[in-house]
């Protein structure tokens, strides 16, 4: 019986964890995936733990996935969404969280529009914090479940070629994915209109390609991101239609490639914009496997972080 621990107390971003941590999370998630495919999908591990899900920004998939993961581990959960709370009355983030912690909460899952908000909290409070997306910074559990799904589909990531297509500038999924894939030894390329690729992208040691066909020809796996209509405060692209014409991926494009590639999408899909329906629903897409793996990955992260703390 080997005891194993993560090197970190919080999951703030993939940047702050080690390759060994990722391996341990994957190993544990594989066991939880078995659990959630049994007739009884619940285990009692976290039965004396209370988790607060603090969503200062909208989310459907991630919140449901976290809630389900928590419930399948038998944790008690409380939910909070900024839209219906005292945040609207001007309470500071630290005050809000300290108030919640006074109710004896052990772990916090937080989504916040400000990059670095979970990092700030981690410096002031004692509970374990899991970042469920902080602005345009990181979304670590999404990157973990993406890499886990890729590994399931094409095998170990070492040496694999993965392209991330779409709005790289505004995407926390892109940044977390780049860190995660690189830590696992994969080669990463980003592809999108020049206006949606950050100026300092070279600092991340990734390839950049503006032609989507060339990018797809190069890769084994393509992770296609959503065009984030809510973050387009200035016009980065002339129109959605033009984006679709140059960067949209349809079956004809995939069929013109010399090999079959795997398609991921973190959801929600804008059907007919970044992906056509026939691609999204094809055998090459592993979008629904990503959702299933999301619950297993989040169970693993919660289990491993909660287990570090002694009663």
């Amino acid at each position: 019986m080997t005891e194993t621990a993560l090197s970190t107390k919080h999951l703030l971003g993939i940047k702050y964890i080690q390759r060994e941590d990722i391996a341990l999370i994957f190993e544990t998630a594989a066991q939880f995936k078995q659990v959630i495919n049994r007739p009884i999908k619940k285990v009692p591990s976290l039965r004396d733990i209370t988790i607060a899900n603090l969503f200062f920004e909208n989310s459907t998939r991630t919140r449901l996935s976290f809630e389900l993961a928590e419930k399948r581990l038998s944790a008690d959960t409380i939910n909070f969404s900024a839209a219906s709370s005292s945040v609207k009355k001007g309470e500071s983030l630290l005050d809000t969280v300290n108030n919640i912690l006074s109710m004896k909460v052990d772990m916090i899952v937080m989504r916040h529009p400000a990059p670095g908000a979970p990092m700030f909290l981690s410096q002031h409070i004692d509970a374990n914090i899991i970042n469920a997306g902080d602005g345009t910074h990181e979304h670590p559990t999404q990157a973990l479940l993406d890499a886990f799904s890729i590994r399931e589909s094409v095998g170990e990531l070492e040496g694999k070629k993965i392209v991330i297509v779409g709005d790289i500038t505004h995407s926390r999924v892109a940044l977390s994915n780049i860190f995660c894939l690189q830590k696992l030894g994969a080669e990463v390329m980003v592809c999108g209109p020049p206006t949606l690729i950050p100026q300092n992208i070279n600092a991340l040691d990734v390839k950049v390609e503006y032609d989507v066909k060339k990018a797809l020809e190069w890769c084994d796996v393509a992770n296609v991101l959503r065009i984030q209509l809510e973050r387009q405060d200035i016009q980065y692209i002339p129109s959605l239609r033009e984006y679709t014409q140059y960067y949209g991926i349809d079956k004809a494009l995939l069929n013109s490639l010399s090999k079959e590639i795997t398609i991921l999408h973190p959801g929600p899909i804008n059907r007919g914009v970044e992906l056509s329906s026939d691609v999204a629903d094809s055998d090459q897409s592993i979008i629904l496997q990503q959702v299933e793996n999301g619950v297993a990955i989040r169970m693993a992260v919660l289990f491993l972080l909660a287990g570090q703390k002694r009663l």
Binding site: M1, T2, E3, T4, A5, L24, E27, T28, A30, Q31, F32, Q34, V35, R38, P39, I40, K42, V43, P44, S45, L46, D48, I49, L73, F303, L304, A306, G307, Q308, K309, R310, L311
Partner: protein
């Protein structure tokens, strides 16, 4: 620290003990009807595989369904150790509903592992009956009212002492080692 180990069951007697346990099962379940064996990860799996082989030899080739169970997520000492224990795989590819489940583990000590295993097995259905086979029973150390139905050998040991089962597949010989508590 634990250097003065004593071999309390050598290779030859070890084999006899396993065969005796096999015969006991056949005595109770002559046709293995409705019987299945579940070994607890990790050392209970090795023991279970051996028992399965012995039953096959003794019965002239009849086999009993065998599964592996990992109880990591069902342990009651979560958050009471420094770090979580890493999970092994659970492989039970048959239904336990209505079956007689024979749980197999190497050492019965506090009973907490078996308690967790019984909870875990119920996630796979409602067995008719659960029985327990252990190679070593450390009596007097129990934390739960749990007893084995089939026992290899019984050891009277203090809490600080340590019993370890070695398997031929791993260290080249079958034996049970006993490490008495260090004198303070």
């Amino acid at each position: 620290m634990k250097k003065r180990g004593k071999n309390i069951l050598n290779n030859e007697r070890f084999g006899l003990t396993l065969t005796r346990l096999g015969h006991q099962i056949i005595e109770h379940y002559p046709d293995f009807e409705n019987l299945c064996i579940i070994g607890i990860q990790e050392s209970g799996v090795r023991f279970g595989e051996r028992i399965q082989q012995i039953l096959q030899q003794l019965s002239g080739g009849k086999s009993v369904p065998f599964g592996k169970l990992d109880i990591t997520f069902f342990r009651d000492d979560f958050r009471r150790r420094d770090a979580p224990i890493s999970a092994k795989s659970t492989e039970i590819d048959f239904l336990v509903e209505g079956k007689t489940v024979l749980i197999v583990d190497d050492v019965l000590y506090t009973g907490r592992t078996i308690h967790a295993a019984m909870t875990a097995i119920q996630n796979f259905g409602r067995p008719d009956k659960i029985e327990l086979m252990v190679l070593v029973d450390r009596r007097f150390n129990r934390h739960f009212p749990i007893e084995a139905d089939y026992t290899g050998i019984t050891v009277d040991a203090l809490d600080d002492s340590y019993v370890r089962v070695d398997w031929k597949e791993e260290v080249g010989k079958d034996r049970i080692m006993f490490y008495p508590a260090e004198r303070k």
